[in-house]
């Protein structure tokens, strides 16, 4: 298949995830009614369900999916290690711990700062994992996974402590952050997510060629003209903002950041400039479809989307681990 054919398949997949998300989102409105709402002929109730409930949920899933996939791609090159993922490394956990802490403790007027807390938590954990994982010859897979275990254990402990002591009125919100789900999506959340997705994406796009060079290690990249210090800091902050933003608006969702860049590399090769937009699109489509499965698999009961991504992602991770040098 040519690159054009592969891109067409990706766009078709993305469109399919959008249409399915709107048409098959739940039992209340069937596909025919949902499609007629899209065409502008439907009752106000149907329009409300499609445009006020399903559309924000779909947009949030697309945005968070793109953010997680890009965060994974950024972390993998930052650590020169293909096993890196915001969830496995505890970066999402760090964001969730800081966000639950902020949600439980901040006065109501300051709850807008929860996403910022998530980004700071994610940044702090990324720095800690970076420090733990790097040996004299870069970060070995073993060190990286062990650093992720340590970070996840620590952040889980904080989350448990918060959940155990949070004021009852804040408990459901704090719990929602720890469970990956788009059930509480609102148009406001979509608007708030935008800067956490768009600004880091612009940073990564600007440094796309540098990211490709960093995949072979810092010394090799420096020899080819990358200023490792400043570039590393910017990519690091971008990865933290993407992971933290995703956690703040949808909770902890694993393995999208691990699997999507790998799948895209298999299809489109390793040129990061070509890869980044496709990683974002594929992450968005996969997460939106994952959310659809989470909603409809055991309907009317709804599963958190994190359950679906973990069920599909863990076998993928095991396969990668077996192949790691």
């Amino acid at each position: 298949m040519t690159t054009l054919g592969r891109d067409a398949a990706l766009v078709a997949g993305l469109l399919a995830s959008v249409l399915c998300g709107l048409a098959l989102g739940g039992p209340a409105v069937g596909p025919a009614d949902a499609l007629s709402a899209l065409a502008g002929h439907a009752t106000p109730e149907v329009r409300t369900i499609v445009f006020a409930l399903r559309l924000p949920r779909l947009l949030l899933a697309l945005g968070v999916g793109a953010a997680l996939a890009l965060a994974g791609a950024a972390l993998q090159t930052l650590l020169s290690n293909p096993l890196a993922d915001p969830f496995l490394l505890g970066v999402s956990g760090g964001g969730a711990a800081a966000a639950t802490l902020a949600y439980a403790l901040l006065p109501a007027a300051l709850l807008g700062a929860v996403p910022l807390a998530a980004v700071l938590g994610a940044a702090g954990t990324t720095a800690a994992v970076w420090w733990m994982a790097r040996g004299p010859l870069g970060s070995s897979s073993t060190r990286l996974i062990l650093a992720g275990i340590a970070a996840n254990a620590f952040t889980s402990a904080i989350i448990l402590a918060v959940v155990a002591t949070a004021p009852p009125v804040r408990l459901p919100g704090a719990l929602a952050i720890t469970m990956g789900s788009f059930a509480a999506a609102t148009p406001t959340a979509v608007v708030w997510l935008a800067p956490y997705l768009l600004v880091p994406t612009a940073v990564l796009a600007w440094h796309a060629r540098d990211l490709g060079l960093l995949a072979l290690g810092e010394e090799s990249a420096a020899a080819l003209g990358v200023e490792p210090g400043p570039v590393r800091q910017r990519i690091f902050l971008a990865a933290a903002a993407l992971s933290g933003g995703a956690v703040a608006f949808a909770g902890v969702i694993g393995f999208v950041g691990l699997a999507t860049p790998h799948l895209c590399r298999l299809v489109w090769g390793n040129d990061v400039r070509r890869l980044l937009p496709r990683v974002a699109a594929a992450g968005a489509a996969l997460t939106a479809l994952g959310d659809l499965v989470a909603r409809r698999a055991l309907s009317p009961v709804e599963l958190p989307v994190g359950v679906i991504t973990a069920l599909l992602g863990v076998p993928f991770f095991v396969a990668l681990l077996r192949r790691a040098p």
Binding site: S80, R209, G217, E219, A223
Partner: protein
């Protein structure tokens, strides 16, 4: 013309000094070989000359200008550097790695043009890598990987190449190919600085030799001036014989621990 010069150059890692007071002048179209035992500071010296490791003392000038006053990408266009270790965790193909050699000329977004493509093609052909072009580098042997990295450095078309043990994993035929490549580069006006473990290969290639011990230069000069059993015995801790070779200069042969 002097391409690169170091004066009283010192450097190391985390407080320990690995290179001290190295003076070096690299002229256009010459070959400099750095010899020395393990831990003598050879790789550190190369990193300092490439501007990858900031010096703790002294300075390096490129075309008469101090290295820190150049932008990193400007340096990378002029100095190609072959590191001793490269992390191949990602499944990059040979062609993708060699393409990276053009990155210093391209900036953040410009795609390779026909001139870049031709440079990549020449480098792949020169290192006999065309049949491997689509193979992931991590499936190749150590010597093949070394040729891939050398091709990447050649694709940059720099004024000066700094090669850290480029012959370490090469078989004899590819070592001879390396000799031919270095001589071609030199004829074309490109300078080469190599770290080698093979004394005789180094002495045969070099216009000047730098002998390092404990981070400092213990001897420097034209190769024939350094053909001295006692010097190599004291630096490497081995008994050495100087054997006549016909044709060509005599060979230094280690015959046992001193």
């Amino acid at each position: 013309m002097i391409l690169l010069e170091s004066r009283k150059l010192c450097g190391g890692y985390g407080g320990s000094v690995a290179v001290r007071d190295v003076d070096l002048v690299v002229e256009e179209g010459t070959c400099t070989v750095i010899l020395g035992p393990n831990g003598a500071g050879k790789s550190t010296l190369l990193r300092l000359l490439a501007g990858i490791l900031p010096p703790t003392g002294g300075e390096v000038t490129l075309l008469g200008r101090p290295l820190p006053s150049w932008r990193r990408r400007e340096v990378a266009r002029r100095i190609g550097y072959l590191p001793q270790f490269v992390d191949f965790s990602f499944p990059l193909t040979v062609e993708e790695v060699v393409e990276q050699g053009r990155a210093p000329h391209l900036g953040p977004w410009r795609p390779p043009d026909p001139h870049d493509r031709a440079a990549i093609r020449r480098a792949l052909e020169r290192m006999e890598l065309v049949p491997f072009a689509r193979r992931p580098v991590r499936t190749l042997s150590g010597g093949e990987r070394q040729r891939v990295l050398l091709a990447r450095a050649l694709a940059t078309e720099p004024l000066l190449l700094l090669l850290d043990e480029p012959a370490a994993a090469l078989d004899v035929r590819h070592q001879m190919e390396l000799v031919a490549v270095v001589q071609e580069l030199r004829r074309g006006g490109t300078s080469v600085v190599l770290v080698l473990h093979d004394w005789n290969l180094g002495l045969r290639l070099a216009d000047q030799v730098l002998l390092l011990q404990g981070g400092a230069v213990v001897a420097a000069g034209r190769p024939e001036a350094l053909l001295n059993e006692e010097l190599f015995r004291s630096v490497f801790g081995v008994a050495v014989r100087l054997l006549a070779a016909d044709p060509g200069p005599p060979h230094l042969v280690p015959v046992g621990v001193a």
